[in-house]
Amino acid sequence: MIRAVIVMNTQGKPRLLKFYEFQPPEKQQELTRSVFAGQGALLSGRPDNVSNFVEADAIFGPVIFSSLLFVSFVAEITKKKKQEEFKEGTRLVYKHLATLYFVFVFDSCENELAMLDLIQVLVETLDRCFKNVCELDIVFNFNKMHTILDEIIFGGQVLETSSERVLKAVEEISRLEKSSSSVSFVPKSVSGRFGR
């Protein structure tokens, strides 16, 4: 399964975080930070022309979801043992595009190259959705980003790999949202009043 999707900029500021196993906020912050500049300077330390995979067992630890499946595996010792035997194989794959890193964290149930393709799908969808996507689009479209991502990855499982269909579904949702609230969604807002 996919354990997390992280989009962050080249300064390490998160732009989209989605963890498919529950992580408390502090832990999310820690994980994001160590993905960006962990031991051996993970993403920030990698030049551009190198491979896009990073072993991430050390950062993400054993898969919580799978450990749920191992009902009898609660004891700390057995967990250690399990790690040796199964070699969790949590990895992350990333793509560096313009000012952004797109990072997918996944376990041994996923294929590395397929994940790389999936990043491409996500980026392509964003590009079509926002017409030449840039960091600002992602910053200002928090909800839409989640809507798009949820169409592609759902509960850690890859459900859709065609950006066309994702786009259609997302458009349908925003159409429904608009029609459902005939009045403006944020009636009291005076946009930009408090800005700058």
Binding site: F22, C109, L113, A114, N143, F154, S191
Partner: protein
């Protein structure tokens, strides 16, 4: 309500900032963290006020802002959980969507116990009704998938059923998967529909989702055998599907199932090879390679094909990802396929030079995997030379790998210890070396274990000690400590004692830590003792010899006996002689240099310095010291006593101690091993009982026997044992993990970084061209004896036997029940399906005939079944009962039978071929061996 809290301005209450406004405000203040924190705090105040508003729109916007802050600024929003639930029933679509997003990002049963309150609302949203558009059902499912507790999953499992056949099928499948994970009891309800999704008639996206769900389940299950009956379905997908995502997942499932069912490998061989040859998708090809290497490694043709594909990967110069994965695939091959690695040798070695750290790492692992007795010398020499020129991180990685591989299992690879010891010395000279601890350990360990290596060890130690450069390097002080200890302990192998003492007492030693310095002085103590003893012995030997000589001289009337003593000393043996002057000089030197240290602040140093001075004092006091020419020395009681005493102090050889040594001691009477010592811990709570580990090093030189005894008699509770192990690590043999330290120590010498790496790599390729070819080992000298203790030595076993409690795994059990149609658990869905099966049962016989009248595979088993198809079932019944009477096996047989019949309707011949796949006798094969290769 808003107006009552604090004192918001009129503007604030009239106008609400939208999420966009908030983001803008945060962006404008992002220049400094203080400003940003203030902006966030202000926004939070606002949100706290707004979220309590009775107006749902206001509440929704507030919640949206809070979600944004929680997600991207890591704020805690658990306090707003109830407000999120309040928005769920709103008729306006955006409201529940905002609420669901907030909840799925922040809810979890472990931290939010409010979700059960929403059970009813969730059920309402999941119910099939025209008002529940996918835009509403999908986020509800997502919340259920990410944050549901076991209870909730159980309650809502049946509500998933209608969705599992609707347009939202893929999402429902993913949700069902998570429901299994938290609540195995949901399996009976949800499993059948999931299996149905695999059929051909399903929508492709549903098939894809179902396959990945099964992949997840099978890979996570400790025992995947419950999924074996589904093999025919997966096989059909493997042959028919054109969707790469589906194929990848199916291959993963087969890789997991194949070890359980040997014939499965035979069956998937052809389709996998076909995909391997034809598929243009690299991801699929890589998955095929992985499957072949893990499950089809007995099929040479397939492995050959996979290796060829790996080579293609390795040759893709423009894509580092493919090269990296190619190397990983090579590493998967294992020792049985060294030829494959050998074939790509050149690429592997070139990869050591890659800019990509991943690729270098994999290449290094591969090279280490190729090491054997015959090539270890060449390869390690090259690697260590290479490490001299590479960057600090990789240099240490190389050192680490070499140390670990060579030290493995008590140096099993090493034949020539003289070489290895000098290699250790060379490693310590690497300007980036941060592996001092491990080098120290191995130097001492080899000293203890390999007697024949000691002379070389002393030589290497001498070279290290004489060089003033490493003294200032904090990473090397441990190595120096080992070197000092070795040259003290095995001083008899030393060639030049004075030189050694000078090295040990050179002025720059003041840069060492006091504990290492103490070791140095202790080594001086040993050297002084040794030189004195040997001097005395020499005189004694001369005494006896010269008296014999004298007798001879009297006979031959020769006047040699009257010659000056020093001359005679010289004449005894030019190499071995210790002159009186040299001993005297040594003592003088030691006295003057150690003298000031007796006033040293540090107790360790002071104590040892005083020991040395005391010894010199005793030696000086003896009568002999006034150069007595007469030969009465041997009869001098005092000297003999001193010599004996000092010899006794250091003569006992230190040896390695077995990990199991403690167990061999009998437990003293009256000692209760299982006594609860927690009270004691409380009493001692504030007393720090952990001394610094390095003290032990010197302790050990001092009273070797004492410390050993001290560790021997009691077998403590495991925690104390662990503590003891931590403190007395030296006495335990299995290696401990190295700590990886970053080496930022300023370089002592120019690391030659400027040298062109490409040329180096070429050189290495050239040089190693021969060394990788495993040659017949012709050691010029036999491998020296390496002391190995009992079974526990060197092999670090975690001591835990794999508990076979997987069987009680609830989920597997539940799924087994569902798939095998356990009668004890009737459920609505099962009734339905059994009904269906029974109806299909009519076709059963004809199908079977069909099947067996065209045995495609010339398989012995198929043939046999073909002949006996009619009597098959009863025969098996009988046999099972005879053999083991295990109830499960028979069930498996029956279900697989049922499954294939059921699916036979829409499948045709693939299923028929598959039919032989789960033959009853193979399924019932006694011990199902689990394979963790995946």
């Amino acid at each position: 309500m808003a107006a009552t809290s604090s004192s918001p301005s009129l503007v604030d209450t009239l106008f609400q900032r939208s999420l966009d406004d908030l983001i803008r405000a945060l962006r404008s203040s992002s220049s400094s963290s203080v400003l940003e924190a203030a902006a966030i705090a202000r926004a939070l105040d606002e949100i706290r006020r707004e979220i309590r508003s009775p107006d749902l729109d206001t509440k929704a916007v507030a919640l949206q802002k809070l979600t944004y802050l929680a997600s991207l600024h890591h704020l805690d929003m658990s306090w707003a959980a109830f407000h999120a639930l309040e928005l769920l029933p709103s008729p306006s679509l955006p409201h529940p969507r905002v609420a669901y997003l907030a909840a799925s990002l922040s809810f979890h049963p472990s931290s939010t116990d409010l979700l059960p309150l929403a059970t009813h609302q969730l059920r309402k949203h999941l119910a099939p009704s025209p008002s529940n558009t996918p835009a509403l059902v999908a986020p509800a499912l997502h919340l259920l998938a990410l944050a549901s507790s076991a209870d909730l999953a159980c309650h809502l499992a049946s509500d998933l059923l209608p969705i599992l056949s609707g347009p939202l099928r893929p999402k429902a499948i993913a949700t069902a998967l998570r429901a299994f994970a938290v609540c195995p009891d949901a399996a009976p309800v949800l499993f059948k529909p999931l299996v149905d999704c695999l059929s051909l008639s399903s929508e492709p996206r549903a098939v894809s989702a179902a396959v990945s769900a099964f992949c997840e389940l099978a890979l996570a299950a400790p025992d995947p055998s419950p999924y074996l009956p589904l093999a025919p379905e997966f096989y059909r997908l493997l042959v028919d599907s054109h969707n790469n995502w589906v194929l990848i997942k199916v291959l993963k499932i087969f890789a997991r199932l194949a070890p359980l069912e040997p014939r499965l490998a035979v069956r998937i061989h052809d389709p996998v090879c076909h995909l391997l040859r034809r598929s243009p998708a690299k991801s699929l090809v890589f998955e095929c390679i992985r499957t072949v290497l893990s499950s089809l490694s007995d099929h040479d043709a397939a492995v050959r094909l996979a290796v060829d594909k790996i080579k293609e990967f390795l040759a893709s110069d423009d894509d580092p990802n493919l090269r990296y994965l190619g190397l990983q695939a090579l590493a998967m091959l294992g020792p049985a396929y060294l030829w494959a690695v050998e074939e790509s040798r050149e690429v592997v070695i070139q990869s050591l030079n890659d800019t990509d750290t991943n690729i270098r790492h994999e290449a290094l692992c591969l090279i280490m995997g190729m090491l054997c007795e015959s090539n270890v010398v060449e390869i390690c020499n090259l690697l260590i030379k290479y490490a001299m020129k590479s960057d600090p991180d990789f240099a240490n990685e190389i050192l680490d790998a070499v140390l670990a591989t060579c030290g493995r299992n008590v140096y099993e690879l090493i034949v020539d210890f003289d070489w290895y010891v000098s290699l250790l010395g060379e490693m310590a000279r690497n300007p980036h070396c941060a592996k001092g601890d491990e080098i120290e350990r191995q130097l001492v360990d080899i000293g203890l274990r390999v007697r024949d290596a000691r002379p070389e060890l002393v030589l290497v130690a001498r070279d290290l000690l004489i060089d003033p450069a490493p003294l200032g390097n904090p990473f090397l002080c441990r190595v120096l400590s080992a070197a000092a200890w070795v040259s003290g302990e095995y001083v008899e192998s030393s060639r030049n004692l004075l030189e050694l003492v000078e090295a040990l007492l050179q002025p720059r030693t003041n840069r060492l830590s006091s504990l290492v310095r103490a070791v140095y002085i202790q080594a001086v103590f040993k050297v002084v003792t040794f030189s004195f003893i040997s001097f005395i012995k020499q005189i004694q030997a001369f005494d006896t010899k010269s008296s014999a000589d004298r007798n001879a001289a009297f006979e031959s009337e020769n006047g040699v006996a009257t010659a000056d003593k020093a001359v005679i000393f010289d004449s005894i043996d030019n190499n071995e002689t210790i002159k009186h002057e040299s001993v005297s000089h040594l003592l003088d030197f030691v006295e003057t240099t150690v003298g000031p240290l007796s006033e040293c602040d540090d107790v360790e140093i002071q104590e040892r310095a005083r020991n040395v001075l005391g010894l010199i004092h005793i030696i000086r006091e003896t009568r002999y010291w006034d150069i007595v020419a007469e030969h009465g020395l041997t009869r001098d009681k005092k000297i003999s006593e001193i010599v004996e005493l000092m010899e006794a102090a250091f003569s006992e050889e230190l040896g390695p101690v077995s990990t199991n040594a403690q167990k061999r001691d009998t437990v003293p009477e009256g000692l209760i091993l299982n006594e609860n010592l927690s009270d004691l811990a409380e009493i001692l709570g504030d007393i720090d009982v952990t001394p610094c580990t390095s003290i032990l090093f010197s302790l050990r030189c001092h009273h070797p026997t004492e410390t050993k005894e001290d560790s021997a008699p009691v077998i403590e509770p495991s925690s104390l044992l662990a503590e003891h192990r931590k403190r007395h690590g030296l006495y335990y043999l299995p290696t401990e993990k190295d700590e990886v330290e970053s080496n930022d120590y300023p370089l002592a010498s120019d690391p030659l970084l400027a040298v062109s790496h490409v040329d180096d790599a070429k050189d290495i390729v050239k040089l190693t061209a021969q060394s990788f070819i495993p040659r017949k080992a012709k050691p010029t000298k036999p491998r020296p004896v390496v002391i190995r203790l009992d079974e526990g030595d060197g092999v670090s076993r975690s001591g835990l036997t794999m508990v076979k409690e997987f069987k009680d795994d609830l989920l597997s059990g539940a799924i087994r029940n569902v798939l095998l149609g356990n009668e004890s658990k009737p459920s609505s869905s099962r009734d339905m399906s059994s009904d269906r099966t029974s109806r299909r049962g009519e076709n059963d016989a004809s199908n079977n005939n069909d099947l067996f009248s065209q045995p495609k595979e010339s398989n012995a088993l198929d043939g046999r079944k073909h002949r006996k198809s009619s009597s098959r079932k009863s025969r098996h019944h009988a046999r099972h009962k005879e053999k083991n009477g295990s109830p499960g096996n028979e069930d498996i047989e029956e279900t697989s039978h049922r499954h294939s019949t059921r699916s036979s309707r829409h499948q045709g011949r693939h299923k028929h071929r598959q039919r032989g796949d789960a033959p009853p006798d193979v399924v019932s094969q006694e011990p199902v061996i689990q394979d963790f290769l995946l």
